[in-house]
């Protein structure tokens, strides 16, 4: 339940700035370089594919089973999880990610489950 499992190869590595609408609001980013207007088109494109109906991790609609459950033929067991931040993912996709980093991959807030269901 900590960041320690994430590969910390080089903490001082260069920072990608202005990539994602969701990244700019993180605490980490506050001390990083400001947004560059030049890349606005990228930001616009980014928000297109993380609309709220699609699981941003596996890119399947949250109402359908995730890629893992589709592969393992467990469609019935696949449920949706909503965080306190109101982002939703497949519970399967999210539970794998929080093992590495207990933050919402879209808004970087600490991940707290609000609700699990269909």
């Amino acid at each position: 339940m900590s960041d320690s499992q994430v590969i910390m190869k080089d903490e001082t590595c260069s920072t990608a700035n202005g990539k994602s609408g969701s990244m700019e609001s993180t605490k980490q980013d506050a001390e990083v370089k400001p947004f560059t207007l030049k890349k606005w088109n990228i930001v616009a494109m980014w928000s297109w594919d993380v609309d709220c109906d699609t699981c941003a991790i596996c890119r399947v609609q949250v109402m359908d089973a995730c890629l893992r459950c589709q592969t393992e033929n467990k469609q019935e067991e696949c449920v949706v999880v909503w965080g306190e931040c109101n982002h939703s993912f497949h519970n399967c996709c999210m539970s794998l990610w929080v093992k590495q980093n207990n933050r919402c991959p879209l808004c970087q807030q600490e991940w707290m489950v609000q609700r699990i269901g269909k």
């Binding site: 590969i7 920072t15 990608a16 202005g18 994602s20 594919d49 941003a56 995730c66 592969t71 590495q100």
Partner: protein, 152 residues
């Protein structure tokens, strides 16, 4: 054999074809979807303009929970690119997010070209020239841009 990682990569590929970002392209290698070949065109109005740089991206079955390994195959002269082509970029290491896909990776690397971070040098000569002798830096960059054409 179809696994979640492979299916995700098929989706990445479809998106890259349907909604191609400017100045980058990529596709899985013919017989292995886990290894991609990509090309980044140097952004206009930068010293990298007119360069055509080849990269190789290697994914594992843990994708997208783990970032892929990305490196330049074309010769590169950049403060944050190692001699073996490896790239020092936070989102490919400790700030990776499973919501990234191939187009996000490639567009991030493309913007790194003109926005190096000289404080974390992977190529100390490039970092030093970038800070102290911009003219000489741009000359070296122009040389690798030209080379990138010869090796296409």
């Amino acid at each position: 054999m179809s696994t979640p990682a492979r299916r995700r990569l098929m989706r990445d590929f479809r998106k890259l074809q349907e909604d191609p970002p400017a100045g980058v392209s990529g596709a899985p290698s013919e017989n292995n979807i886990m290894i991609w070949n990509a090309v980044i065109f140097g952004p206009a109005d930068t010293p990298f303009e007119d360069g055509t740089f080849k990269l190789m991206i290697e994914f594992t079955e843990e994708y997208p929970n783990k970032p892929p390994n990305v490196r330049f195959i074309s010769k590169m002269f950049h403060p944050n690119v190692y001699a073996d082509g490896g790239i020092c970029l936070d989102i490919l290491q400790n700030r990776w997010s499973p919501t990234y896909d191939v187009s996000a990776i490639l567009t991030s690397i493309q913007s790194l070209l003109d926005e190096p971070n000289p404080n974390s040098p992977a190529n100390s000569q490039a970092a030093q020239l970038y800070q102290e002798n911009r003219r000489e830096y741009e000359k070296k960059v122009a040389a690798i841009c030209e080379q990138s054409w010869q090796n296409l």
